[in-house]
């Protein structure tokens, strides 16, 4: 691994990232509070407050997402999310084998971090999927529920709102799994906190 420091995370991506993280966590907590709404459970946020917070944070996260999209459209950071399909599976496999076995045998990472490749193939794949498939779906379904008049009332004999809400909850669940795995994998660095420090200072 290169010893000299790399400036990997420009300021705008750091701002986007921490805003996104904070909003996402609020959305997750209020989303769970609504889904499992129960006035007797002291750990849940009250339904009324949850609805309000969830609406506000959902809109804020969507706007913040535009920052991500435009940032990646107009700066070189966008390249990091592009993948060649050729050999993709092999690269993902190699990286997984490293996480599962290689790193315990003190092997070197198969895809060292560089300015051109700040993500390893697994990160690249998962970040792209989350940001370019997961996010659009969850934002679109969320907006649809905020403005229910745009939802098709009936879909295959089932309420359109139901389908939308189910999709929203399922993607939300998948993204929350991503969050847990993401935070855990970020502890795998030079030290446990080094990646988090990078995301604050920008320097790797």
């Amino acid at each position: 691994m290169a010893n000299e420091k790399l400036y990997l995370y420009p300021l705008w991506i750091r701002i986007w990232h921490w805003l996104n993280a904070a909003l996402f966590i609020i959305l997750l907590l209020t989303g769970i509070s609504m889904q499992y709404s129960n006035p007797e459970n002291p750990f849940l946020i009250s339904f009324e407050l949850s609805v309000q917070l969830h609406n506000i944070c959902g809109i804020a996260l969507s706007i913040n997402y535009l920052l991500f999209i435009f940032g990646n459209l107009f700066t070189s950071n966008g390249k990091q999310y592009k993948m060649k399909t050729k050999g993709l599976f092999k690269r993902l496999y190699d990286q997984s084998v490293f996480y599962l076995f290689g790193m315990f045998k003190k092997q070197d990472p198969p895809f060292p971090i560089s300015l051109e490749n700040k993500f390893n193939p697994l990160q690249r794949f998962i970040y792209s999927t989350a940001m370019y498939i997961g996010f659009p779906i969850i934002i679109a379904s969320g907006m649809a529920m905020l403005f229910p008049e745009i939802i098709i009332p009936q879909l295959f004999g089932v309420s359109g709102l139901l389908v939308t809400a189910l999709l929203h909850a399922i993607i939300g669940f998948v993204l929350s799994l991503f969050l847990f795995i993401h935070i855990y994998v970020c502890t795998i660095g030079n030290s446990i906190i080094s990646n988090f420090r990078s995301m604050i200072t920008g320097w790797h």
Binding site: M34, Q35, Y36, S37, N38, P39, F47, E48, V51, Q52, Y99, M103, F104, P148, E149, G157, V158, S159, L161, L162, A165, L166, I170, F173, L177, F180, I181, Y184, I188
Partner: protein
Amino acid sequence: MKPSKLLLGCMCLLLSFSLYAQKEVNKNHSCLKCHAHRTYKYMNEDFGMEIKESMCSNRMIDTLAYQQSNHGMFKCTDCHSPEYETFPHSGNLRMELMYACNDCHAGDPEYAKFHFEAIEEAFYESMHYNRSPDAFTCWSCHNPHTYKTQARIGEKISETVSYDNNICLSCHADVSKYELLTERENINILKSHEWLPNQELHFKNVRCIECHTQLSDSLLVSHVVMPKDSAIRECTSCHSANSHLMASLYRYKSLESRKGSGFLNAVIINDSYVIGANRNKYLNILSVVIFGLVLIGIFTHTIFRIFKSK
């Protein structure tokens, strides 16, 4: 019998049926020729000429809705005096005492499942009756010419919601009927419900009576409309696992579908989505299992990292 004769016989039978049906529809023609139209004509004997005038809208009857109503097979004069056959209607007909529902329905075992007596008692407890005991009757909500048992016969819950809400809105969105009953200033319900988010969606998917009546175990439609201070305001009375709606709006459908499939939440699941009340048991279990697996994975990985780091 030859096929042609059979055919002829069938056609005769059909014809006589349709004639009979025609007569059924037309039995009220003598009244509906005036009361079903925006204008009516009558013969002015003195001048010896026919006069055309307009019928005021609250004397008009929607014939289609009348036929589909519970009492659609009635002759007008089953409830109204036969003296209405003459026009101009005699002045003292105004003083005519109208039947109440229970004049016909009380004690009749055929209608026991509707619990007319219990509904009447509930009605006497209602805020409407107590504020204007003389003017407010069953007919105030049950339009004599259109009322039907929508909650039982309706296919879609949304149709029942709009049918039932239109009953309330016939006064609460129309001053001319409202002001017959009170001196109080008109209530703007859009304003009084500003606290309810997605107001339009709620009013389309949930009935006024869900929040404004006391729940009743024995009645399908609770009739005790309460004063506004007692109205439901907590979101969680609907948006939670033991949603209020299961005992009211969705009750009839869920009773029916439970007979069929034994799956309690079946109704809510297809017809609408109430956040917090719709819970799919299998999805819940699946998500807990997946989440558990992820945690176990992370935990094992951590253990390996701790032991292998030396």
